[in-house]
């Protein structure tokens, strides 16, 4: 029986990592070549991975939702029939080990150097026993460059033109990555490293390098090179000047760092992750507040801003600074809405359909927008930069619903919501929410919105000042609905009260119009029967 492992490929040009979004197979399943194994999300797109092997899935090596580096084994497929025992080596921990750690067993290969290719290294990055019968000849490409393989052999003669750096020939120092890697949490997702950055150089500079591992492995030069050709020539660590400066400031010897950059270059990320590892060794058990003794400058967690968070930030800044916001609020007695929702839930026609006050609000917003069309518009600056801007009033409603999703804040919209009956709208809202919660919202679903509703009430909040979704001029915040004392015909009685908040782009929507729009929305919540007019 041969167990083949499939390493995460670079499906774009120069991608370094991807998230396993969902598995389409499970252990024990029979797969054919090109059957879809899983769906991964890269920085560029969602992509399905077809199986390179035919056989039986023995194990999924990376759980869903975890981001792993290109080159990490993600699944093992055995070419034997089902029921064959999985080899002991195929545990997730061993499989997901960092490249440096995985390279350690290769020490034995030093005695019998194989004719490695001189460039465009195509060997698999790991040499685990199960791979023995693995890819012939070139083997799979694991990336277009970002990850160089660990050196498996080294030259016995130093090149005449390349005086070796003291650090590079010191066994103690070159053993460090192996030592560091071996204590690293092997199956840990890439993004969950504690990124405690230490900006203080001096303290670190005085720290001794970690002790050698004490075995034969201690003498192995772990620095990856491009088949040894380029960095072997100059026999020194490759890194860009800014990275060298950071390393010097942090007191890190670049030779200790496992490089992942092109041509075996140490990147800034490598330094960050090395530093995180160093700190993790010192205070792994730290609670959230960090060690009290440490200077506060060392107790700041730095989280890279990327993906949806980055897009949200950009959109919010763009909107908040480009569109002069005016916000107004109104308290509404939504008791009749609550009754209406209750009746809908009980009605046979709405059986099995989730009905919430948000449905009535959505309907109210559509109704009110038709009576005050300027809120359903966009401000369009002239393309040539002149001040001849236009206001585009949309005679259709693509109703955006702000949704907190696993991927961050998304605003998918319901296209042509004005044409939907109450029931169709309820179905559309449910589908939109389900898709968003599953993280499957497609870019097209988020484009072309004309007006947005944000349901902050779902989180128990009364109201807030929403920021307009860029490209629109109005947004309605729906606060929580709760029982409050309310004065009706001179008597204080408990009623279901909510607060509506609205923000409007003052370039397009003046105060009176925004007020009329909000009053219209409120009137529907107070008396949903008005929808029948």
């Amino acid at each position: 029986m041969t167990v083949n492992k499939f390493n995460l490929p670079d499906v774009g040009e120069g991608l370094t990592e991807a998230e396993i979004v969902s598995w389409k197979v499970k252990a024990g399943d029979t797969v054919a070549v090109n059957d879809v194994l899983c769906e991964i999300e890269t920085a560029k797109s969602l992509v399905e991975l077809p199986s390179p092997y035919a056989g039986t899935v023995t194990e999924l090596l990376v759980p869903e939702g975890v981001t792993v580096d290109v080159g990490t084994p993600i699944i093992s497929v055995s070419d034997a029939g089902p029921g064959a025992p999985a080899p002991a080596a195929a545990t997730p921990a061993a499989a997901a080990a960092t490249p440096a750690a995985a390279a350690a067993p290769e020490a034995t290969e030093l005695e019998a150097p194989e004719p490695a290719p001189m460039y465009g290294t195509l060997e698999p990055g790991t040499a685990e026993p199960v791979d023995a019968g693995g890819p012939p000849a070139g083997g799979p490409l694991v990336g277009s460059g970002p990850k160089a393989d660990a050196v498996k052999r080294r030259r016995r003669i130093s090149a005449p033109a390349s005086p070796a750096l003291p650090a590079a020939v010191s066994p103690a120092v070159s053993a460090a990555p192996a030592a560091a890697a071996s204590v690293a949490p092997s199956a840990e997702p890439v993004e969950s490293h504690d990124i405690w950055i230490d900006p203080d150089a001096v303290v670190r500079a005085e720290r001794p390098a970690p002790a050698p591992a004490g075995t034969a492995e201690g003498t192995i030069d772990q620095r990856p090179t491009l088949g040894g050709a380029i960095s072997g020539l100059v026999n020194r660590v490759l890194a860009k000047p800014p990275v060298r400066k950071i390393a010097r400031d942090l007191g890190i010897d670049l030779a200790d760092v496992v490089p992942t950059g092109a041509r075996g270059e140490v990147t800034r990320e490598d330094l960050v992750s090395y530093q995180a590892q160093r700190d993790a060794e010192v205070d792994r058990a730290d609670s959230f507040w960090g060690k009290t003794g440490r200077p506060q400058a060392q107790r700041i967690e730095r989280i890279p801003v990327k993906g949806v968070r980055k897009a949200t930030a950009r959109a919010m800044v763009e909107s908040a600074f480009a569109a002069p916001h005016v916000s107004i609020f109104v308290d509404v007695d939504a008791s009749r809405t609550m009754e209406f929702v209750k009746r809908l839930k009980a009605s046979r026609d709405f059986e099995g359909i989730k009905v919430s006050p948000l449905l009535i609000l959505a309907k109210a917003v559509i109704w009110a927008a038709a009576r005050n069309p300027s809120v359903n518009a966009s401000w369009v600056d002239a393309e040539d930069g002149s001040d001849s801007a236009e206001i585009h009033v949309k005679h259709f409603m693509n109703l955006g619903i702000a949704a907190a999703t696993p991927r961050g804040l998304m605003v998918p919209n319901i296209k042509n919501a004005q044409d939907l009956s109450l029931k169709e709208l309820a179905l559309a809202l449910n589908e939109l929410a389900t898709t968003a919660r599953a993280g499957k919202t497609q870019p097209a679903q988020m484009q072309g919105g004309t007006l947005t509703v944000t349901n902050i009430g779902a989180l128990g909040i009364d109201t807030g000042t929403p920021i307009i979704n860029p490209g629109e001029v109005a947004i309605v915040a729906f606060g929580t609905i709760k029982q409050k004392p309310w004065v009706l015909d001179g008597e204080v009685i408990p009623r279901w009260i909510t607060t509506l908040g609205g923000s409007f782009d003052h370039r397009v929507v003046d105060g009176d119009l925004s007020a009329r729009f909000m009053a219209d929305v409120a009137s529907i919540l107070e008396e949903p029967a008005l929808l029948l007019d």
């Binding site: 490929p9 077809p50 070139g138 799979p140």
Partner: protein, 418 residues
């Protein structure tokens, strides 16, 4: 409404009596017909005053061959895409949707013609008998090319947009001069069939200056070249509307040679138009611009995600114009092919896919010595010196009988030996 006629170009209606433009329009027939189409999406055959004659030359065998080629290259495309997703190729450039444009034009060329492709002309490569497994070498990153263009008259893929168009015109001018000299000398070469050059590019590349320069030269020197533009509507994420406001084929008028827009999903029309254009070019009448109106159904490359810039309704619209489906309908309706034929085509496609998959695993890494060997045509002392140094350097890795004591000693051993 004052003006009933909106000018198609800035120069329209300026009263310039352009003889060449008139000629071009005469050849094209009614200028109001925007596109040459013979095989309609529903699989019925239409007529064209000029090109029907060319279509009539196609017998049943040729039509079946077109279908087999298109199906084969589509299957190959699927396999190559999967191989990229499996880490066996660094990148893949899918062609799905453009099969008719490529097979139709490629099959219209003759062996003596010379073809300059971009990087997506896998279908044309098939018609020129390029080994498709060889074609993958470049996408695996183990070769700068992959095949010998002299064997097939199919030039290596050019990755720089439009860079191949000046090369093609230069090559065509070379053919022109060779023929002239051969005629003057009265040698055997004069009796060889005349050749032309066909150069492929896309709607995006049409905006490159190289294309303009090439067309000026081609026109000025009346070079035997056919410009074959596959307008697949998307230059990665940029729609054709950003490249041009008029049909791309209209641009030919400005250079003074005919430009024809043909339904790029109609293999019969593409073949007819290309055959006509190549005949015209070989005879030295003029260059021709063909705009094959088609659609890239898939992504620009495997590193692209088209859902980010275009709607699925647009893709669905074009899927309905699928080049294979309409030819299949026609073949079946005319009784030119049966189920057995289509089953065989499918089996052949799977064989090709299996062959490619098998071969890709055996594509070895090239020897770096070839880089030294291919730097100059003749021996060069500096290169020889560098090669010698490299040989000595790599010899340092060879296992040495007395030196098996362990890795740790190697460094010191090396130091003492020096």
């Amino acid at each position: 409404m004052g003006a009933t006629h909106l000018p198609a170009t800035e120069f329209d209606g300026t009263g310039v009596d352009d003889q060449l433009e008139a000629q071009a329009e005469a050849v094209l027939g009614d200028p109001d017909v925007p596109m040459v189409q013979l095989l309609r999406p529903d699989g019925t055959l239409g007529t064209d005053p000029v090109f029907s004659a060319y279509a009539e030359r196609l017998d049943a065998g040729k039509l079946r061959g077109f279908y087999a080629d298109m199906a084969k290259i589509r299957r190959f495309d699927v396999e190559a895409t999967a191989l990229q997703r499996q880490g066996q190729l660094a990148l893949w450039v899918p062609l799905t949707g453009q099969e008719a444009a490529q097979i139709g034009s490629g099959r219209a060329s003759q062996p003596q013609d010379y073809i300059f492709p971009t990087y997506r002309e896998h279908g044309v490569a098939l018609t020129r008998d390029v080994d498709l497994a060889e074609l993958l070498r470049q996408f695996r990153g183990v070769s700068n090319g992959g095949w010998n263009p002299k064997d097939t008259n199919f030039h290596l893929y050019t990755l720089v947009l439009a860079a191949q168009t000046p090369h093609a015109v230069g090559y065509a001018m070379g053919i022109q001069r060779d023929q002239k000299r051969a005629a003057a000398d009265g040698t055997d070469a004069a009796r060889k069939p005349k050749a032309a050059v066909m150069v492929y590019f896309g709607d995006g590349a049409s905006s490159e200056g190289d294309v303009h320069e090439s067309m000026v030269f081609a026109s000025s020197f009346n070079a035997p070249v056919v410009f074959f533009c596959q307008n697949n509507h998307w230059a990665i994420s940029v729609p054709t509307a950003v490249q041009t406001r008029i049909p791309l084929s209209n641009r030919a008028k400005g250079y003074g040679f005919p430009g024809i827009r043909v339904d790029g999903n109609d293999v019969i029309a593409v073949h007819a138009v290309t055959e006509w254009a190549l005949e015209r070019a070989r005879e030295g009448k003029s260059p021709v611009l063909i705009e094959a109106f088609t659609y890239r159904v898939g992504a620009h490359t495997t590193a692209d995600d088209p859902t980010k810039y275009r709607g699925s309704d647009e893709e669905a619209q074009w899927r309905a114009k699928d080049p294979l489906e309409r030819l299949e309908k026609y073949l079946r309706a005319q009784g030119l092919a049966d189920d057995a034929f289509f089953d065989q085509v499918k089996a052949d496609g799977d064989d090709l896919a299996a062959y490619v998959r098998r071969t890709i695993h055996d594509l070895g890494s090239p020897d770096i010595r070839t880089a030294f060997a291919n730097t100059y045509a003749e021996a060069h002392p500096l290169v020889a010196e560098e090669l010698a140094w490299f040989e000595e350097y790599s010899a340092g890795f060879e296992p040495d009988a007395g030196q098996e004591a362990g890795a740790g000693q190697h460094e010191t051993d090396g130091a003492t030996r020096r």
